[in-house]
């Protein structure tokens, strides 16, 4: 008994191994990919027909002889080819398998050959009916079972029901059908894994491109360098989080020598935030073309932005205008974290809110405040990415640490102060990733 079972089991194992390996291999080829996306060349089509044709030949050659009757998986290749690529490729590979089978002769030569040809063609028709897509594991299993039922019917019809035929039919149930089901199942699983992988890859790629796009928009709207004004030392730095937010800053040079600056935080992420940042930036720039007073700028921009607020666009900002000669700074603070003014003698003050977030209250009036920058004084403006940078435990950098860091480095240049704040934040948060954009403007009066 063992003498019989062991070789059969070994042959079965070989067939299973070959089917598994071939499925895994073919799905990952470029030829398969191009054909699945229906942009394969004639050469691709010929190659795939040959491949599945050879699989069909292998199916015939791997005949397992049980009780003197052969059993095989000849139709597997043409069926998969048809289900994946349609009737022509299905039939093409079936013809190769069929010719090979017919050359062997035997009482079932005609029904077997016919079944293979029909299997490839019908599978292709199923592909067309299913909108030119693979029908999935479940229906593919049903389909292959129906094909083998057809196989059976044709054998009865053409070869009759002699004892030799009955032995073959016996084998069909015990070995052939389970092998077919296994073959289809393993292919379907690989195919599904592969398409999932591809979808994930495409999704990741799409996100990456979007992010890059958002970054490019953001960068193109930010000034490349901070302005150089005699008697002042100015720095502007922004560190976007991985998922770009909408922090921005800008400088406006007026003809009479006054300089406007803005720091703002548009909430939201990626492309929408970047587009909204572009809109906000443009609205501010255009308004400064005919308006000078910061409060009027804020009111104008608020009116423009309120029109779009339906989509949830709001932003906080500080907008100020400095007269470099006398150091007077007029500003508005629209719901933005208060900039800190460091006085030469050691004290510090905050430039508190003078209005609410832009886009929140239509028609709101903004108050305008002013401070005076003496020689040695400086202002640090920042976005909430600075104070709300967090450690793993959720502890925040906070305003106190920010002020302390700056206080300890009063004598440094604007850019150095900015860099030291960043170093301080990095040291504080450790390995925790940056969640929000960080932007810092430092304006220092040196003379």
């Amino acid at each position: 008994m063992f003498d019989l079972i062991i070789p059969v089991a070994w042959e079965l194992f070989q067939i299973i191994a070959v089917i598994t390996l071939c499925s895994y291999f073919i799905i990952r080829t470029d030829v398969f990919n191009r054909l699945i996306q229906e942009n394969g060349s004639i050469k691709d089509k010929i190659l795939i027909i040959l491949f599945f044709g050879v699989i069909s030949i292998y199916g015939t050659m791997s005949n397992i002889v049980l009780d003197g009757s052969p059993a095989n998986v000849r139709d597997l290749g043409p069926v998969i080819a048809g289900l994946c690529f349609g009737p022509w490729i299905g039939l093409g590979s079936a013809i190769i398998g069929a010719i090979f089978r017919y050359s062997f002769g035997g009482i079932t030569a005609v029904p077997c050959t016919l079944t293979t040809l029909l299997a490839g063609t019908l599978a292709g028709i199923v592909w067309i009916i299913n909108k030119k897509r693979y029908i999935g594991t479940y229906y593919a299993l049903i389909f292959i079972s129906l094909i083998e039922l057809l196989h059976l019917g044709l054998i009865f019809l053409i070869a009759g029901d002699g004892p030799e035929v009955m032995a073959i039919i016996d084998n069909m149930w015990t070995i052939m059908l389970p092998l077919y089901l296994f073959g289809i199942a393993i292919f379907s699983i690989f195919y599904k894994n592969y398409t999932n992988e591809k979808k994930n890859r495409e999704e990741l790629e799409r996100e990456r491109v979007e992010l890059q796009f958002a970054q490019e928009i953001q960068e193109s709207f930010l000034p490349k360098t901070a302005p150089s004004i005699s008697g002042y030392d100015i720095s502007a730095s922004t560190y976007p989080a991985r998922e770009v937010g909408g922090d921005f800053y800008d400088f406006i040079h007026f003809e009479d020598g006054e300089v406007g600056f803005v720091i703002a935080d548009v909430s939201g992420k990626s492309v929408p935030a970047a587009l909204f940042m572009a809109l906000s930036c443009t609205a501010i720039r255009i308004s400064t073309g005919w308006i000078r007073a910061p409060s009027s700028i804020a009111e104008e921009v608020n009116t423009i932005i309120s029109k779009y607020a339906e989509s949830g666009m709001f932003f906080s900002m500080v907008y100020g205008v400095i007269s470099p000669l006398n150091g007077v700074l007029k500003y508005i603070n629209a719901g933005h974290p208060p900039p800190v003014l460091f006085k030469k003698e050691g004290s510090h003050d905050e430039l508190q809110r003078t209005g609410t977030i832009i886009g929140f209250l239509e028609g709101q009036k903004f108050l305008e405040a002013n401070v005076s920058l003496e020689k040695g004084d400086f202002i640090v403006c920042y976005t909430d990415g600075v104070t709300e940078a967090q450690t793993f435990k959720g502890e925040m950098f906070g305003k106190d640490r920010l002020i302390k860091t700056i206080d300890e480095n009063r004598s440094k240049t604007a850019q150095e102060v900015s860099n030291l704040i960043i170093t301080g934040i990095k040291k504080f948060v450790g390995e925790n990733p940056q969640f929000d954009d960080i932007t810092i403007l430092v304006i220092k009066r040196t003379e």
Binding site: E243, G312, G335, F360
Partner: protein
Amino acid sequence: MEIKTEKRDNAQIILVSGMLDASNYQKFEEDISLLIQGGPDKIVFNLSNLEYMSSAGVRAFLKTNRTIKSKEGVMVFCCLKPFIKEVFEIAGLDVGFKIFADVESAVQFLDA
């Protein structure tokens, strides 16, 4: 971030817990828009359990306010922790929104 909702008189009380920031404000906006869909248009946001809120959270509330206003509803806040109160004040939300010390006064205001 977690949301629980409860009806009292004519008002819907939405209890927001945890953290509201860039990582979850979109989910918050979605959840809230489902809650207020066709529902009562008098909303109290009970923030007694809201520990942290960033500018993304501010934006989420402002957007929700737009939606509620477009349906001629009204939303108010109650029970702000000191940190949240500070965030509200920096952004100026305390100017545009009614804020109450407890749920009862909020509901009373909406019923009046």
